[in-house]
Amino acid sequence: MLVPTALEAGDALDRLVHEPARLIILTALAACARADFVFLQRATGLTNGNLSAHLTRLNEARLVTIEKRFIGRKPNTLVAITAKGKRAVERHWSQLEELRAGALDLATRSGLPKESR
């Protein structure tokens, strides 16, 4: 049955990665070697405190590494994705793609018009 399969796939999503801000952080980091705090703040639109909390969470799960340094007298935080983090975000995107394909299939079978899918 398609609906339970899609729901199971939804349940299988990693909640740690699935949270929108964290998905943005991990997807951005997967596309580069490393990025700093200012860039991630711009990419997510989060406040300092919120972004710090998300990064701590990802760091605790060993999905990212955090390096603190000084540029002149200003502190600068560099964040890089780990191999585990890269695998997690790649798996997450393929699961989302499967879900999307399942939902499209369901819409086709139930005869929904194209524009409402």
Partner: protein, 220 residues
Amino acid sequence: MQTISASAEARQAGQVAARFTDLLGLRQATGGAGLLLAFAWSIAFPMTPSRFGQSGGPALWPYLLLVAGLGATIAGVRWINGWYRREYGEVEGTRRQKRVGAVLGAAGVLSFLVPLEIEDLVQNSRHVASANVALFTLSLWIVCYGLYLGPRFWHYLVIAAAGFAFGVATAAGMLPATLDWHIRELLLYFGLASLAGGLIDHVILTRSLPRPRNASADGS
């Protein structure tokens, strides 16, 4: 279930991170402004053989002006680099991205220099290249650069098309066909192309990375 817009935002963040250095367009625009200044300089002080034949040689101050303009351009690019670091942060590319960037950069320099060398050789044999060859090779390189950057950077294809059209205009004899004119045409085209391309890149960056808002999400 996550909304489609959250997934789209994540994908966009990935695309911006992958092309971050290329999106810092104000650096390129400043370089373009410098090239346009060089074009204006070359019009104001044409380097004709007769100028070199004057007693005492050409005056020194036009060269000082050129060096000052070059210095101002370099200082401007450095300042903009710092501004981007403060406002948009830093993204370090992967090794593969750096390698591809180096290959593209080298190809760009060659597409600029090799045709000029060929035109120089043609002129030394007392002939004149009837077309500005570098306009064609540079446009071809811009097409490759635009394709490398991806679908959001279609403006580079328009810029390259303008370059081809400009090249055809020189081949049709609408502009004098001499090496110094060819260099001026190149300065004008590459200056305008850098300025326009850089400004559009910057607009893409600012739209993709808006200022942080007060988000309600917690870090749990």
